[in-house]
Structures are given as structure tokens and as C-alpha cells.
Amino acid sequence: MRKSLLIICGLVLAVCFWLLLRKPLSQLEVKQAEIEQTATNQTVVLKGPQAGQASAERNPIKSQSQRDGKDFFRALGIDTNSRTPIAEQMLQKPIDFYGKVIDENSNAVSGASIAFRWDDLTAPDWTRTSSTLSDADGLFSLNGKRGATLTVSASKEGYYTSRSDTDSFYFVFAPNNQVYSPDQSNPIIFHLHKKGQGADLVTSANGLQTSLAALVPLNGAPLSVDLLQQKVGGSGDLELSQVKPDRSHWQSATNWSFHMNIPTGGFIEQADAFPFIAPEGGYQTTVDLNFVKGEPDWKTQITKTYYIAFGQPRKYGWFRVEANIAQQTVFLTYAINPSGSRNLEPAN
């Protein structure tokens, strides 16, 4: 009995020593995988052992791991010999960036303040910042940094900064797999707009809220909004209506719609970075948005911006509406020049 126990213990110890002393993975001979990188989506595809192959054996992955482990780490950009934590290896990508600042006339803006911010896992709070100025040609750059995401902003005294410019650039885990590729010959453009003569505008701001909330009936009944008085209900230049399902069953809805009407003027859809001059004409009195499930333009949430004109004498403004299928409330954000001028630049 005692002898049997000693033999069993010896076998166990031998196995343990074998596990401890066998060659590290990196020294194993493994089949080299071909790495193919596409030009468009940066997809890394390994040709080698067929992905997903596994036997029905109990823990067959045990042996597969020895073969695919190196491929696995390589595919993720991980060097197992490095003391650097895996997260740093995966997220500390080289950061190089090239940008250019131009004004509303496409002229280069020199002396614009450029602020960089990127996540660097080696930094306190994982964040580093830097700043520079654009040169005489409006150009600027950032080089030799490491991180996953870079934010860039451009500003200058006497100018507005565009809120439409892309300001975030990803070097790994990019939205829609769109990793930024630095190109000095094609810098990213940042738009500034010189400040002009602003006007006193009537806006939708009330307290902390920047928008006016309108509880529009779900059954298509119209609701009027007096934009200048920030009043919903009663009379007004803007008429809203919508047809939506009960919010608790919106997922099973097959359609919804939202309508706006300004009988004394209308709407012009716009996406201007600096909506400072309203057009004089071309306004459509009605906006009809209809969504049918299965169609390409099916949406459950809309955000639309317009120039608007209304009333006699005519007044002009810019206008944004936000609505979604599961909420009765619609949010209106706007700025109107009550004097009748088409100037929509806010007073500075």
C-alpha cells in the first residue's frame, strides 16, 4: 500500500516537472501563418490552421493552443516575451497626425491654437495633452506619440470653431473599423469662421435647457408652437404633428411619421457648419418624414437641421428638430433674428 502511494506520488511529481520544464511557447516550432492585410478595412486575416476547427474531444483546445497561441498573440499585436502589459501592447499604437486650418474662404489660418489629447496608458489618468500653433500655411502636426485615440481641436481668437469637423482619430478599435492613416500630403482640414457682426437672436434656450420640448400628440393631431414666445400649444407659426406607436411596443411598429408645417414660410434643410446667413427664398412650407420598416431609410431617431422663415414681416432662423419613435416629446432648438434680418450670427 505504501509502495503504491509512493509510485503514484512519483508519477504526479514527474508530470508536474514536465509541465514546468517544457519549452516555452515562443520556442516551439509553429507553422508560419500568412498575414494578409487589406488596404481598405485593415482586416487581419490569418491563413493557416482553419479558424474554428475543433474536435469533439474533451478539451481538444489544449493541443490546438500550442499551435495557434503564437498566431493568436501575433494577430492581436502581443509579444508574450515583453513585460509590457497586454493592454498597453494593444492600445499604445504609434500616433502621427497632420492637419490644416482654413477659414470660410478656404484661406489658410496661421496662428490657430491646436490642442491635442490622446489616451496613453502610461500616463496618469491615461491621458496626455499637447498643443501647438498652425504655421503660415495653416499646417500643424503631432508625431512620435503612442495611444489609441487622438482628439484634435483648432481655435483662434476672433473665429468660430466648426462643430461639424471630425475631431477624433482612432488608431485601434476605431468606429466602423475606420482606423486613421496619417498622410502628410493630405492633412485633415479644420474649419474656422471669422466672427462678424452678430445679432440679438431669440433662441429656444430656457434655463439649462437649450431646446424647447413639445409634447406632440401621437395620433397626428397638430400642435402649434410660437417660436418667438417659446410657447407650445395655442397659436403659433410652426405646426407639428406625428403618428407613433405606444412607446412600450415601438419595436414591433412598422412605421411612424413626423410632420412640420410653416404656412407663412417654410424650411430649407441644411448642414452648414456655420449657419449664419439664411437664404432669402426657396423655402418649402411642409416637411413630411415617413419611415417604413424594411425600407432603406428606416430610422427610429431623427435629428434634422433647417433654415426657417415665417411670418409677416418675414423672420428667419436656423432650426433643429430631434424626435424618436418611442418618445412623444419632440425637441426644438433654434435661433431666430426677430428683426427680420437674415443674419443669424449670434451677438458676440
Binding site: 508530470v15 492581436l76 497586454i86 494593444m90 489629447r117 468606429p175 473599423n177
Partner: protein, 718 residues
């Protein structure tokens, strides 16, 4: 009696004699300058004389106004009769007194037209009592407008209904049409009682306080520490040993711009220029319960605005040395405000912080030479902020195998007061991973306060679940399996969360139940909903769950699919993430940030950390790890599972420990599916990279994130 004049300088015109004689009463007029001899039959007595003087020609020189109410004199400790025309102490050199009335309190005014006798003595005056007509608002230039104010009786009883200067106009003179105007300064103390951002000074407006309806606010007993000059501040845990060292209200100044979220506005309106050195303005408490106390600081905003909460520049100015001096008002000590503050007329703007728990009336008294001439009060009720919301704790029983883990909810404290209001809304906060108890309390306090300032008037609840903590953020970059270990705990705590939300539905059947789940709090919330938890609006904020859990068509990420190709894991629910929560119904909104750094670590964990510890196992055969053979998942013990390798049948364990997401986290990616709408936190609020930005809504100072909370209120609207 030629050229004879009476006391007032009016010349006598004639004297009428009434003479008693044998023939009866004889009347005889003696014209001025003439004489008359009494008849012989006059009785020996002197006749009765009736003098006629010239009619006084009166001309109004001014209108004067005094209070007819006796005034308490501290020096002689008795009421003193007012010195009105007709009083023995009255002097014709007396001028109108300054009238200061408290809004909501009546005041009595006696008005007189002071009239010079043109054909009499030059220093002789007649005082004609006046009836009052109307009271008008006075503009900032001191000019009466045509807008009426207050309630005024013809007899001079005036009730001020709004602060500011009022012009009380007398009835017109019947001959000349002239009117007199009495200026009354109506003073009030105004609070933003309903925290809607508007200071409403009207008498019965929404900011009116009373003993039954005081302003509810919290004492500033947290610690918004700043470690360097430009540090916006962070919440430091108040240590139980010597807590007073940490309480912000004990500090000599606001500690940081973050600290300003513990201050509310107080306006003193309508006080005139008090340039006479005899004036004094004091603040004190009356009708107290407990020990209420406040610290006042002067506002740096010339319009008394709330930029200290919304604008960084204003906030920095507010905590600068020019404005940071605190003036404490306690029940033991009245505060005499510096006279220099009242040398100019106009509103005075202050901020205050709670410095003592209790309730009472904060009273401002204006005295002149010891005599009280105006007194106005406002009611406050001050509590520890935790008394204003409900806290619950979920505990897990994690003994035995994972599939046997259970959870329970322990209600810690219901709210004992309501600072928010009486709206029928509930907001329940569910925190993420790495939230220790102190952090949870700080986070909950902060969210409550910011919902308050955003104008929320419903109820607030917060739930603690047993998440995995880390000691240093660097630790997670070295071992991302903390995410997985915390995720399984979140799943196992879900039953208790479901029970709690169900209880809330029962307790508040007509209240919309809104849930704000942060980061990994969406793992516990997702499971709770799967088990039947009720909700009306569910906000996933910076959600640390795969986007594919909510949207089967969510865009995959290449690196994740590559990793999946080499080390496969379960994809579809229930053992995988894909589509696991797509049968949720209701309004579900995702607040996401493409730049979220912490969720990038989550991405790393999904890439290299799934199955859990598998990567470590590839490097060292000693580690225990999870694995997947294409059909089943396994929990393998040390030494490559030599001694134990257990089949994983629990779907929650499979998702947390084995399954790899094919998409980024919902908090870092556009997601549709059951997500009905989204908010881009970077575009709308500037949330960006860095560990703190994953929780920017409470790690940032209020000045740079209050719009986030305004957005929550928009999201939960019907």
C-alpha cells in the same frame, strides 16, 4: 386792530362782537382800523369776539411722509410716539423718513402736503393729510413707471408684493391737481427654492418659502478636495476620524470649483442705499428646530446668475480671494453684514452653503440707531444630502459553484425628506464595476446634486451591487479579467435588482420608473430585465456590454473577429452575447462615447481576455482558465486542467467567462436594434479620453457636465 395779524401772520379783517344787552343779543362788526363803543345797555361783561382774518393763500411746497406707528426704542426700552404734524414734538423742518417694507408684510404710511401760507408768516406751514391713490413700480433710474405694484389702501396701508422701489402716489389736490409721491423700498430675501434656475421674487411665486414649505437643501459635509492650483477638485472620502477636517463647510473658503455645486443662491432685493452710519443689517435665525447654520459668500456675478454652476471661468472667479470669504450665520450668533455692502442701492447677491442640520427662518433685520425699521425672512430646512434619496444594497451569496450563486436586496434607507420636489418620476442609479462603498456613496451624492441642479423634481434611488474592485487603474491594464470576474457577479446580482425594481413599481405605481445604468451596471440591469424587471425608460450610459447584445446587426470589429477565428467562443445567446437582450421592450436609450478609454480596455479584455485567463494559460500552463471546444465551454483547473475540468452549463458564466464579443461595447459604438435612440457624449458634452472620462458625469466638476443631466431629464420625458 389795524395791521394786526394772527399767529399764522394772517391779517385781521374785522372783528364781530356779540353783545348781550337789555334788548337781546346785538352783533356788531368792527372793520380793521375802526373802533366801536359799547352801548350803555350792554351788560357789564365783555362782548364775545369773533375775528375774521384773511383767507390763507396756501401753496404746497412739498409732500412729506412718516410712519404713524410707534417705534420701539432700545435705548429707553419703550415705544415712542411718532412725531407727526399736530404732535408737540413735531418740527416743520422734519423731512420724510425712509420707508423700507418687507415683501409680504404690510406697512402704514401717513402722507401730508406741506403748505406754506403765502399771505402769512414765512415760517408758518399747514399740513394737509393725504389719501393714497396707487402704487407704481420704479425703474432702475428711479423713475416711476406706469406698472402698478403691491396693494395700497387710501389710508396708506401698503402690502409690498415684490421687491424693489415703489412710488406711492396720493390723490390729486382738489384745486391744483398736484399729487405727492412716497418712495417705499420693498425688500425681500429670495432663494431658488424650486431649483429651476430662476430666482422668482414674487410674493406667492414658486420660490416662496414658509414654515410649512421651506427650501430644502443639504449641508456641505463632503470634501471637494483640490491638490494643486488649477485642480477643479475631486471628491475625497471623509474619514471617520476627525471628519471635521474634511467637511467643506468647515473650510475657510470654497475648496474647488467642484465645491460650488454645494452652494445655492440667496438674493437680498430692494434694499436702498444705507449711507447713514446709524444703519445696520443683520442676519439671524428664528423659529428653529435643530441647529441650522449657513455660510454666506458674496457672488461674483453682477446679475446674481448661476454661472458659478455652468461656466468654468465664472466658477474660478467665484472661488478667488475677492469672493471666497465666508460669513457664518448660526443660531447662537447673529451676523452683522458689512456696512460697505449696502452703501449703494440695488440687489445684493450671495451664495450660501449649509453648515448645520436643522430648520428655521433666516431673518434679515435692518435697524437704524437700534430701531428696527424692516425685517424680512425666508425658511430653510437643511439635511445631510443622503436623507434626500433612497439607498439599497444588493449582496451576493457566492459560495459553491457559480450556477448556485444567489443574491438579495437589503433596503438601507428610504429618503426622509424631499429636496427635489413632488413630480411623479423615479430615477434609479445602477453603478458600474470598480465601485467600492465609499465611491458608491460619493457617486450617488453627486448624481443627486446634479439632477437637483438640472431641475429634476422627482425621486432618486441608488443601488449598490457587489462589483469587483480594483486598487489602481493600472492594475486593470495588466489583468483585464477583473471585468469578467465582475461581470459574473453582476449577473448573479440581477435577481435582487429585479426584485427591487418590482418593489418600486408596487410602491409607486403611477411613477414612471427610469433607470440610469452606468458601465457594467448594464450587465446587471440587462439580466434583471430578462428576469422581468419593470422599467419605463432605461438609459445605458457608457455601457460595458457588447453592442450585439442589443442589436443583432451591430457592426463587428475586425480585431475581435480575428481573435474569434483563432480562439473561438460561443457567439449566440444564451451562451454567447449575440442577441441576448434583443427581446427587451420599452424605451431604451444609449449614451455612448467613441473615445471611451475604459471601454477600450474592455475591448482588450474581449480580444485577449476571453475565454477568461486563456491567454495566460497559453503562456503558462499553471494558470486555471476557461476554454471552448467549439461546442462546449470548460472551466479548467491549474496545470491545464489536469485535475479538474468542469463543463460550463450556466449561460451567465459562459457569457462572462468564455464568450467573446464580436462588437465593441454599446457605450463605444453606434447601436440600433432595441436601442431606440442614442446620445453621442463626445459631440454633445465633450466627453473624451482618459479613465476619469468614462465617468465624466460625476468625475468632472459640475460646470462642465451639467448639460448631461439636463439631457437625462429630456430622455425621461414621455
Amino acid at each position: 386792530m389795524a395791521n394786526t395779524k394772527n399767529y399764522f401772520g394772517l391779517p385781521f379783517l374785522k372783528e364781530r362782537l356779540a353783545i348781550a344787552s337789555d334788548s337781546g343779543l346785538v352783533l356788531h362788526d368792527i372793520l380793521a382800523g375802526n373802533s366801536y363803543t359799547l352801548p350803555d345797555n350792554a351788560y357789564g361783561n365783555m362782548p364775545t369776539l369773533y375775528a375774521q382774518t384773511a383767507q390763507p393763500q396756501l401753496q404746497t411746497v412739498e409732500y412729506d411722509f412718516w410712519s404713524p406707528i410707534p417705534v420701539w426704542n432700545d435705548a429707553i426700552t419703550r415705544y415712542v410716539e411718532p412725531w407727526l404734524p399736530g404732535s408737540q414734538y413735531f418740527s416743520t423742518s422734519s423731512k420724510s423718513q425712509l420707508f423700507i417694507a418687507a415683501v409680504g408684510s404690510g406697512t402704514q404710511i401717513a402722507g401730508y402736503a406741506k403748505m406754506a401760507v403765502q399771505n402769512g408768516n414765512p415760517n408758518t406751514f399747514a399740513y394737509l393729510g393725504q389719501y393714497f391713490d396707487k402704487a407704481y413700480k420704479v425703474d432702475t433710474n428711479g423713475v416711476p413707471t406706469t406698472t402698478q405694484t403691491g396693494i395700497l389702501s387710501p389710508y396708506g396701508a401698503f402690502l409690498a408684493t415684490e421687491p424693489g422701489q415703489a412710488a406711492l402716489v396720493t390723490m390729486p389736490d382738489i384745486d391744483t391737481g398736484e399729487r405727492g409721491t412716497c418712495m417705499v423700498y420693498s425688500v425681500s430675501m429670495v432663494l431658488d427654492k424650486n431649483h429651476d434656475g430662476t430666482m422668482d421674487a414674487s410674493f406667492t411665486g414658486p420660490d416662496t418659502t414658509s414654515q410649512a414649505n421651506p427650501m430644502e437643501f443639504w449641508i456641505n459635509n463632503d470634501c471637494d478636495w483640490a491638490t494643486y492650483a488649477n485642480d477643479p477638485g475631486f471628491d475625497k472620502v471623509v474619514q471617520p476620524v476627525n471628519p471635521g477636517y474634511y467637511w467643506d463647510y468647515q473650510y475657510y473658503a470654497p475648496r474647488s470649483i467642484r465645491d460650488l455645486e454645494d452652494y445655492s443662491r440667496l438674493w437680498i432685493c430692494g434694499v436702498p442705499a444705507l449711507t447713514n452710519s446709524g444703519y445696520q443689517v443683520t442676519m439671524s435665525w428664528a423659529n428653529v428646530s435643530g441647529g441650522p447654520a449657513i455660510n454666506l459668500i458674496q457672488s461674483c456675478e453682477t446679475n446674481g446668475g448661476n454661472g458659478y454652476l455652468t461656466q468654468t471661468n465664472t466658477a474660478w472667479q467665484q472661488i478667488s480671494s475677492a469672493y471666497y470669504t465666508k460669513y457664518r450665520v448660526t443660531t447662537n450668533m447673529a451676523l452683522t453684514l458689512p456696512g460697505s455692502w449696502f452703501t449703494n442701492a440695488g440687489n445684493k447677491y450671495f451664495l450660501f452653503e449649509g453648515a448645520g442640520v436643522g430648520s428655521g427662518q433666516l431673518v434679515m433685520t435692518i435697524t437704524q440707531n437700534g430701531n428696527t425699521i424692516a425685517q424680512v425672512g425666508t425658511w430653510l430646512d437643511l439635511h445631510d444630502v443622503k436623507e434626500y434619496y433612497e439607498r439599497s444594497i444588493i449582496t451576493n451569496n457566492i459560495s459553491g459553484v457559480i450556477s448556485n450563486w444567489t443574491s438579495g436586496v437589503q433596503l438601507v434607507q428610504q429618503s426622509t425628506s424631499s429636496a427635489l420636489g413632488s413630480d411623479t418620476n423615479l430615477i434609479v442609479l445602477v453603478h458600474g464595476f470598480n465601485v467600492a462603498n465609499d465611491d458608491w456613496l460619493i457617486q450617488s451624492d453627486t448624481v443627486f446634486k446634479r439632477l437637483y441642479w438640472a431641475g429634476y423634481h422627482g425621486k432618486f434611488m441608488t443601488v449598490k451591487w457587489p462589483c469587483e474592485p480594483i486598487t489602481l487603474w493600472n492594475g486593470i491594464s495588466e489583468n483585464t479579467s477583473i471585468f469578467n470576474n465582475s461581470e459574473i457577479k453582476s449577473y448573479k446580482a440581477a435577481t435582487a435588482l429585479k426584485n427591487y425594481l418590482s418593489q418600486l413599481r408596487t410602491r409607486f405605481p403611477d411613477y414612471p420608473l427610469n433607470v440610469l445604468a452606468h458601465s457594467q451596471g448594464n450587465a446587471i440591469m440587462g439580466e434583471a430585465i430578462e428576469q422581468g424587471a419593470p422599467f419605463d425608460t432605461y438609459i445605458l450610459t457608457q455601457g460595458a456590454m457588447p453592442a450585439s447584445s442589443y442589436d443583432v446587426n451591430a457592426a463587428t470589429y475586425s480585431l475581435l473577429t480575428v481573435a474569434e477565428g483563432l480562439v473561438p467562443t460561443p457567439e449566440w445567446q444564451p451562451m454567447g452575447y449575440h442577441g441576448v437582450y434583443t427581446n427587451m421592450t420599452g424605451r431604451i436609450v444609449s449614451y455612448y462615447n467613441f473615445q471611451d478609454s475604459v471601454l477600450n480596455i474592455w475591448n482588450v479584455d474581449q480580444s485577449a481576455g476571453k475565454p477568461n485567463e486563456y491567454a495566460n494559460h497559453l503562456v503558462s500552463q499553471l494558470a486555471s482558465y476557461y476554454s471552448y471546444d467549439g461546442a462546449n465551454g470548460w472551466n479548467n483547473g491549474m496545470f491545464s486542467g489536469l485535475f479538474s475540468s468542469v463543463l460550463v452549463t450556466d449561460p451567465q458564466e459562459s457569457r462572462a467567462m468564455i464568450s467573446r464579443s464580436r462588437t465593441q461595447a454599446v457605450g463605444r459604438q453606434d447601436t440600433a436594434g432595441i436601442i431606440n435612440s442614442e446620445i453621442d457624449l463626445h459631440t454633445q458634452f465633450g466627453f473624451t479620453t482618459g479613465t476619469a472620462e468614462h465617468s465624466a458625469e460625476w468625475t468632472r466638476p459640475i460646470q462642465t457636465c451639467l448639460p448631461y443631466y439636463a439631457q437625462i431629464l429630456n430622455t425621461i420625458k414621455p
